[in-house]
Structure formats: C-alpha cells, structure tokens
Amino acid sequence: MVEADEERTTSKLCVDGLTIRYGETVALKDISLEVRPNEIFGIIGPANSGKTSFLRAINRMDEMTEGMHVSGRIDLDGEDVRTWRNVYALRRRIGVVFPLPVGLPLSIFDNVALSPRLRGINDRAKLEEIVERCLRRAALWDEVADRLDSLGSLLSGGQQQRLTIARSLSQEPDLLLLDEFSIAVDPVTTMRIEDILKELREEMTIILVTNLVQQARRLADRTAFFLKGDLVEVGKTEDLFTRRVRDRRTTDYLEGRFG
C-alpha cells in the first residue's frame, strides 16, 4: 500500500509482504506498511485480525510458537529482523507490554533489574539507578519506593501493568510494542499510562495495538486498521476519524456498525 499523500521520511520499521500462517489458517495476508521514528503507530481492529500476530513477528516471538509461520520482510532500521543471528540481541532492543500484566514472581526491584542483569549489569548502584529511573518514568516509583523488596506479583493489576512498562523501559528499547495494555487496567491508570506513552514518544517509537478506537484516536499519530488478516487502511489517525478514508469497512468499524 502506498501512502502518496505523506511526505517520505526514513522509516523505523518497514514491513513488506508480511504473511503469517498458523498451519492452514492465514492470520495476516501480505501486509506492507511502515512505522516512522518517534511516532505512536496505532493498530486497531476486532479480535482475530492478526494484530497480536503482527507484534509477535516483529521480535520473532513466532520462533517459540509452534506452527506459526512468517514470510515476508520486516526491516528494523533498514535491517531485516530475520537476518539477525542473535535473536536475543534483537529482542533486547524491543520492549513488549502484554495484554494481561505479567508481574514476574520476583521482587519489584528484581522485576525491573532483570533485563539489565540479562545484559550483564551487576553493579548494585548502577542497578538501583536504572530501577529508580524506569519506575519513575512508568509513574510507579512513588507508590512502591518503600517496598521494592516485596513481590511484584502482589501489586494491583494497574500497578503491575506499570511495572511491566518499567521493565520494558529497563531494556532501553528504541521500539516499544504494546498489546492492548489497558485490557485489565482501570480507566484512571489507563489515562496515566497514556500520558506516559506521550512522553516516551520523544525517545522511542511505539506501536500500540488496541481495540479501543478512542484510545488510538487519543494517542496514535498514524493508525492502521486490520480486519480478518487484511490491512484495510493505514494513514494519519485524524484522517481516519474525519472520514477521509477509502474503505467502507473502516468507517463501519469506527462507527460501531459491525457484524
């Protein structure tokens, strides 16, 4: 798909002819799109549209899912992610936030320090600095500063999701993938996280999969609409919502006329 009305810039992520199959089932059909540096790129669409599969293909999580087959090209900073021989180095550059908060059964401190430790940072003072910085940026520091040693899995759902974000930030990613992060989070926390994401945009590129159309409208610079494995529409978010769209299906979805 060509976006003729956009000025050409260098892309952070360039996807070309991406097809994802699970056995016989096609989850994503021949998707091509690009994500630009320091933008929030929204992906909307109903369930089973291939949104999550798309995210999994980017950091090559498909390699641990049995039966998931990916073809096509995904270039990160101009380099095909499939050609990275060290998949772990690739994944360390990409932060992922899952739909349900995953507070690992470690202390809050260890949750955030896990990624730096995986990279070989073991100096306590350095770790403390990283943990505080990431927790502050995830707007969680004030709530947990006095109990960093307690279990991360005991935090409330909203806190755990911010802990997950802090953990992703500790990877110092340049690409952050969020998969319906607000599904198990109360509205107030959702708004706080949205504010965090707006700030984070200055430093990294964010791909935000959401089934809340209004969330995409609030946050995303550009938005893609996936439907049953097809990329129906991609463009400036405001264009999508001001009905300057090419496809009837998009309008139907945005206005809730579906089924």
Partner: protein, 307 residues
C-alpha cells in the same frame, strides 16, 4: 406424556435424586475420611506397642548414642540404634546426592526443552521407572551393582553404603522427577513469554524466572524423595550389606532402621523387650517421615499463598 423435567414432586417429597445425592455423600465421606482413620489407627497401634516401652524402660541415652545393637545377647541385651540411624542417614544422604541433580535436570529437560512425542515418551518411561518393585531394585543392587563396584573399587564386598545409595537414588529419582516437573508446569507460560520477549536466552529464562517461581514445589519434590529413601526397606536390606557398623567410607556395609525391623521382627517373641524396641524404631521412622511430609506440604502450600 412425559414432563420435560422428569420427576416433578411437591416440596415435601424426597425423590430418587435426593436419595442418590445422600448416598453419594455418605460414600464419598467414608472414602475421604478412611485415609485419616487408617493413619491414626496405625499410629495408635505402633504407639501402643512401643511408646510406653520407649519412654519408660528403654534407655534413650544408649538408644541414641550407642552403636551397639545386640538385642539377643544374654543376660544384658544392648539396644543402641546409633549405627542403624547413621546407616539409614548415610544411605539416604548419598541417594539424595545422586538423585537430586539427576531428577531436577530430568524435570527441566522434560518440562522446558522436550516437546511433543519426546516429552510424552519420557514421561511414560519415568512413571514406569517409578513402578518397579523395590525388591527388583534390591536384586539389581545385589546382582549387577555389587560385582560392578567390586571391580571398579577393587573391594571384596560389593554391597555397601555406595551400592544402597545408588540404588535408592535410582528409585527416588522418578518420583522426584515427576513432582518437580509438575512444579515447573505450574509456572504460567506468561512468565516464560515475558522473559523471552525481553531477550532472555532459554537458560536465562529457566535460571532467572522458572526455577525461582517453582522453588517451593522443587523443595517439596526433594523432601518427598528423602521420605521415600528414608522409608525404603527391601532394596536397602539387599544392597547395604545389612551389617551393624559405623561407616567410615562409602564402601562400608551398614544396616538401616527399616531393614532391621523387617529382618528381626519375625524372630522376636511378641511382647518381649526386643519386640517392643523394634516398635520404637517404627515410631522413630514414623515421626521422621511425618515431619518430612509435613515440611513438603508446607512448601507446597507456600507456593500457593505466594501468588
């Protein structure tokens, strides 16, 4: 014309379902409580036979500190269980040294690395291994392990702490593997996925995330293995040499508490001192296995409340 709801009776009529429900409740209650009843009955029996003697007539100081076990010497029999306790402890300890690394390793392989058919076949084999009767293990100790040890270490007797420890280790490993694998399986996949998404290698995922979260279950697995080794009788009787001895090397013969009861109880006069002191050994075994199981249970519970 059949009514769709079957037996539609008034509020005071107790239908067949009601009676079936009552009968099922009673039967299930009986089944459930029988385990407790049996445990208590066994404990009462052993205590009645040996506890009074152990607390009143038995010289506990000698019992726990003397390696002299001469229950039939006249006129003064000596009941020193130290050598037996040391025998059991050394065999069990060695068995754990052998089986813990193997079973945890096997559990990690089955639970984290093996997939599909390999995994299923391995699980079945491990469970099959757990079903081998202990006398068969004793037979292997006597007929296979013993000549092997005589060759390797150039000793004249092949039955020893080492032999019994190895055999017991092999016996305890399948149970520990099965329970440890269950503990690993109880770790939510989301944890693994989150760690892998962060760029953790397979080993880092296991080391940093899976093992810490399965810790309690793993400890419980080891404790149950210890309990198994502690209570094992026949294989130890056959592979340990069954001679009263304070071992100074793994190649020494020892005698275990359990094997002593098995070998001697048939030859004692009912109600004699010897008979009663064997029951006191039974009490000791009962207490130790009880404590081990209790600890294992506490660790398993700890795992549940930690979430």
């Amino acid at each position: 014309m059949a009514s769709p709801g079957g037996d539609r009776s008034g509020p005071d009529h107790l239908g067949r379902e009601w009676w079936w429900d009552k009968i099922a409740q009673v039967l299930l209650f009986g089944g459930g409580i029988s385990a407790i009843v049996f445990i208590i009955a066994i404990f009462v029996f052993i205590a009645q036979q040996g506890l009074g003697y152990a607390l009143v007539d038995l010289d506990l100081a000698t019992y726990f500190t003397s390696p002299e076990w001469r229950p039939t010497s006249e006129p003064e029999p000596v009941f020193g269980a130290l050598a037996l306790i040391v025998g059991t402890a050394s065999v069990t300890g060695l068995a754990m040294l052998v089986s813990v690394p193997f079973s945890i390793g096997a559990a990690i392989f089955i639970g984290e690395f093996a997939t599909g058919r390999t995994r299923e076949i391995l699980k079945v084999l491990v469970e099959l291994l757990a079903a081998i009767p202990s006398v068969v293990w004793g037979f292997i100790g006597l007929m296979v392990m013993s000549p092997l040890l005589m060759d390797v270490f150039d000793v004249s007797v092949g039955v020893s702490v080492l032999n019994a420890g190895l055999i017991l280790g092999l016996m305890a490993a399948p149970i520990m593997t099965t329970i440890a694998e269950d503990a690993l399986k109880a770790v939510p996949d989301g944890f693994r996925e989150a760690a892998e998404a962060m760029g953790a290698t397979r080993w880092q995922v296991i080391r940093q995330v899976v093992l810490p979260s399965a810790k309690n279950g793993l400890v419980a697995a080891v404790l149950l293995g210890v309990g198994r080794g502690f209570g094992e009788t026949m294989a130890v009787l056959m592979a340990s040499g069954h001679s009263i001895n304070m071992p100074t090397s793994p190649l020494d013969q020892v005698r275990a508490l359990t094997a002593t009861i098995a070998a001697e109880l048939g030859e004692t006069a009912r109600g004699s001192d010897h008979y009663r002191v064997l029951f006191s050994i039974g009490i000791l075994l009962f207490l130790v296995t009880f404590i081990i199981n209790l600890l294992a249970d506490m660790f398993v519970r700890g795992k549940k409340t930690a979430r």
